[in-house]
């Protein structure tokens, strides 16, 4: 297991290198740059100086090697368009917010999703199957830019229970987490239903029931472990999706997370900020995938022994 982990961790280095290289050159292909003429005329001298200050006047290959050299020293550079902090400072400031939001959303999605999925699988083609699954379908279909404002309207404006936007006291975190997690509730419910349905039809479950075990014990002790395997596989990409895909929710609810910073950096051609954010996300996704591999190995011995 340790060998497997070390091997996987070492494998991340070339992946990072490829990501840095591809993104570094790709973002420079987009028209415009961080320091170009704006809607109003800007003195060309000022733009030249700004480009020079951020090393953008150097040949592209030099910019690239300088950037990579900086990375070796842990230096992600200054943000070109949000210069009040360096890229590293921005990530330290804003990533925890996105991670926290993603965590709540995932917690919500798993709790409700598993509950709905397992309930549905226990009585297939009955009301307890159709009702949660129909809600799950709605969850997938309603985009978060619709759900967010609707929840805001109901809980903040009409009922006045929760703040409209912002990020601070726990109450501010409820609506964004629900909005972000809703679509994942649906996915998890469907995956859990499928997984459980399959497992419940297997021989060892029939054996357990034949031995006279209670239904709760059969489901929780024997079926659930295998039934949630598809959900566990999905959690890696889901966690990554929740963290990187929180831009819309962050914008609607005015949350100071990295998602909005990332998208703004792309629009502003803030090369250093964009690269820093991409690297951070890449690291996160790779780590999540690793964690999923470990979780699967723990849940299913066949994965552990490479069978």
């Amino acid at each position: 297991m340790i060998r497997f982990l070390v091997f996987r961790a070492l494998g991340l280095i070339p992946v990072f290198f490829i990501i840095v290289t591809v993104i570094f050159f790709l973002i420079r292909l987009a028209p415009g740059g961080p320091f170009e003429q704006g809607e109003r005329f800007v003195a060309p001298e000022a733009l030249e100086q700004l480009r020079a200050a951020y090393n953008l006047d150097a040949p592209l290959y030099k910019q690239y090697f300088d950037y990579v050299a900086g990375l070796f020293h842990g230096d992600l550079g200054p943000s070109m368009k949000q210069p009040s902090r360096t890229v590293a400072e921005w990530i330290v400031l804003r990533a925890p917010v996105s991670i926290e939001l993603g965590f709540y959303a995932l917690l919500f999605a798993c709790t409700i999703g598993l509950l709905a999925g397992v309930t549905a699988a226990l009585r297939p083609n009955s009301v307890t199957d159709y009702v949660p699954m129909s809600f799950a379908m709605i969850g997938i279909c309603v985009p978060n830019f619709v759900l967010g404002p609707v929840l805001m309207l109901i809980f903040s404006i009409w009922l006045g229970w929760l703040p409209v936007s912002g990020w601070g006291p726990p109450a501010t975190k409820v609506l964004p987490a629900l909005t972000l997690g809703a679509a994942y509730v649906a996915y998890i419910a469907r995956l859990a239903r499928g997984g459980m349905f399959e497992v419940l039809a297997q021989d060892f479950i029939r054996t357990a029931r034949a031995k006279g075990l209670g239904e709760a014990r059969v489901v929780l002790r024997h079926a659930l472990r295998g039934g949630i395997q598809p959900v566990v596989s999905f959690l890696g990409p889901a966690a990554a999706g929740l963290l990187t895909g929180s831009f819309v929710v962050e914008k609607i609810f005015r949350i100071p997370g990295l998602g909005s910073q990332f998208v703004e950096a792309a629009f502003n051609r803030d090369y250093t900020m964009l690269l820093g954010a991409v690297l951070f996300y890449a690291a996160l996704i790779l780590v999540f995938n690793l964690l999923v591999d470990i979780a699967q190995a723990l849940l299913d011995p066949r994965v552990r022994y490479g069978k």
């Binding site: 003195a43 949000q82 100071p256």
Partner: protein, 538 residues
């Protein structure tokens, strides 16, 4: 039973937690704190490293230039300067600073602070995008461009601690009104240089809360990016006795729908703007909260004169004349703006354009026929370029329809992402492009000089030596009685040649809570927070 009891307790706990916490989330009532929507998150709070209106909204509370403006009449009033004199040729201004003007750390505001600030702003290495605002000062442009390295040659001098002398390159009648712009604010040398060099673009730590020293009515207490900027009363401010608010909380909310909901929930007293689609609802249900007031800004279409068939003034004028601006303002923009038939908005510093491009379809068709395109025949389709915005798209579609109906010309609305759009505009890679101009200061020349040959704001390829001469002549004349007729001639020439099609004059629209007193709307959208008070404050 046990389960039910546990559930009840859990639900009660959750309710208490959420309700308890929501009251801590803000709320416009309580204390004399004004809660203001600030638009997008400020890029910076260094007055020389920002370019946006959203930053202006915050910085005017923190810093003060030599003069301020009366919010209602826009008359010049003392700011950091107590009084001033102007030489008869309008070239030399001598400012006497307030004797009790202090920075927020209690040190005296001196003339040297202005000299230092402007020197820093003019340093090319700092890379300020608003440097050109200061180029009306003698030798300032040369200093930025590096042809002059000795700053003592630049026309700004501290005669003594409280006397500042500014020599201009040419007379600028609006000079005294310019100082509400952050480009002219002073900064404190010891504050800036405690964190880095005078001209280091990455020297930004001095702008953080706890570090920043400012000379305005308020000082920075908290800056949590994308959450809140809180400024509180600066007890050292020279006119602190007349500052009624305890502070201002700025909420950076870039999403207008969220901002409007925050206003409805009571967290905001003043919004930055309002979605055009919400105007009708407020007019109907809460007209007392809705404010729609004049703003010096023109929304127009640039016509690329370097491309056929737009190189023909007759075609350009025909296109401009066939736009029913009244209908756009009424149906597309819910009467929140007014039609513009000239480039300079009416009433700017007493100047109202006498010439115009009327809506006249018959005349437009005639011009098109004269240009060799009877009933639009032989005319290629034109692309209407605009950046991402629902309003821009709806306007472009309305104009597409008008050109088809009135002139039988095909147009294709083309949306581009902001930076791509700017790139297309700068490289003249467009046919027709959405544009806007909001004046930097109160002088009609600020509009017309946009279209000087080769000017950075021209971006249409249009050139007229006669127009250039009129603008230059205006620039050298100190008297408005001489300047305005020259500007009228220039505007007429511009509209005859029509490298642009004016569409509407801006209106600022915002929501204001009834408890706020002292906000007087003006054409500049300038807010002087020291005049604000709250009806329910203790």
């Amino acid at each position: 039973m046990k389960l039910r009891t546990s559930l009840c307790i859990a639900m009660l706990a959750i309710s208490a937690w959420t309700i308890g916490c929501s009251s801590g989330g803000g709320g416009a009532a309580g204390g004399a704190m004004l809660h203001v929507g600030a638009g997008a998150e400020p890029q910076n709070l260094d007055p020389y490293r920002v370019t946006g209106h959203n930053e202006h909204r915050v910085l005017t509370s923190l810093f003060e230039g030599l003069t301020t403006l009366n919010q209602e009449t826009l008359a010049v009033e003392p700011g950091a300067a107590q009084s001033w004199t102007v030489s008869p040729d309008g070239l030399v201004y001598t400012f006497k600073l307030q004797p009790n003007a202090k920075w927020s750390d209690g040190t005296q505001v001196t003339a040297k602070d202005f000299v230092y600030g402007w020197k820093r702003h003019l340093s090319a290495r700092l890379g300020s995008e608003y440097t050109y605002m200061l180029w009306c000062i003698k030798n300032a442009e040369e200093y930025t461009k590096g042809t002059l390295t000795d700053f003592s040659q630049v026309g700004v001098k501290a005669i003594d601690d409280t006397t500042l002398e500014v020599s201009l390159k040419y007379p600028v009648p609006a000079f005294l009104t310019m100082h509400i712009h952050y480009a002219w604010f002073p900064v404190l040398q010891s504050n800036v240089e405690a964190f880095g060099a005078i001209d280091d673009p990455n020297n930004t730590k001095w702008t953080r809360a706890g570090n920043m020293i400012s000379n305005g009515p308020f000082k920075l207490e908290e800056w949590s990016p994308n959450q809140i900027i809180r400024v509180v009363r600066n007890e050292h401010y020279w006119d602190a006795a007349n500052v009624k608010l305890d502070g201002v909380e700025f909420y950076p909310i870039s999403d207008l729908a969220t901002e409007e909901r925050e206003f409805r929930s009571g967290r905001l007293d003043l919004t930055e703007s309002l979605l055009s689609t919400k105007i009708e609802t407020y007019r109907r249900d809460n007209p007392d909260l809705l404010h729609i007031d004049p703003l010096i800004g023109t929304y127009f279409y640039r016509l690329n004169t370097t491309r056929k068939p737009l190189d023909d003034p007759k075609v350009r004028r025909a296109l401009a004349m066939s736009i029913d601006r009244q209908s756009i303002c009424d149906s597309v923009l819910f009467s929140a703006v007014v039609p513009a038939s000239a480039f300079t908005p009416p009433g700017l510093a007493g100047y109202t354009p006498e010439s115009s491009i009327p809506y006249n379809v018959e005349e437009a068709r005639k011009l098109l026929t004269e240009a060799g395109y009877p009933n639009g025949e032989g005319m290629r389709p034109l692309d209407i370029l605009f950046n991402e915005s629902e309003d821009h798209r709806r306007i472009a579609e309305a104009i597409q329809d008008m050109w088809k109906k009135n002139l039988n010309i095909e147009a294709r609305p083309t949306q581009q992402e902001w930076k791509v759009y700017l790139n297309s505009l700068t490289t003249l890679d467009y046919d027709v492009a959405r544009s806007a101009w909001i004046a930097d200061y109160l002088d009609p020349i600020n509009y017309l000089e946009c279209f000087e040959t080769g000017g950075g704001n021209n971006r249409t390829g249009w050139s007229s030596p006669e127009f250039d001469a009129l603008v230059e002549k205006t620039r050298l004349s100190p008297e408005q009685s001489v300047r305005f007729p020259l500007l009228q001639q220039a505007e007429q020439l511009l509209l005859n040649e029509a490298p642009l099609a004016p569409i509407y004059s801006y209106r600022q629209r915002f929501l204001l809570a009834p408890r706020v007193r002292g906000l007087k709307s003006n054409m500049l959208g300038y807010l002087n927070y020291k005049t604000f008070s709250l009806a329910d404050a203790q």
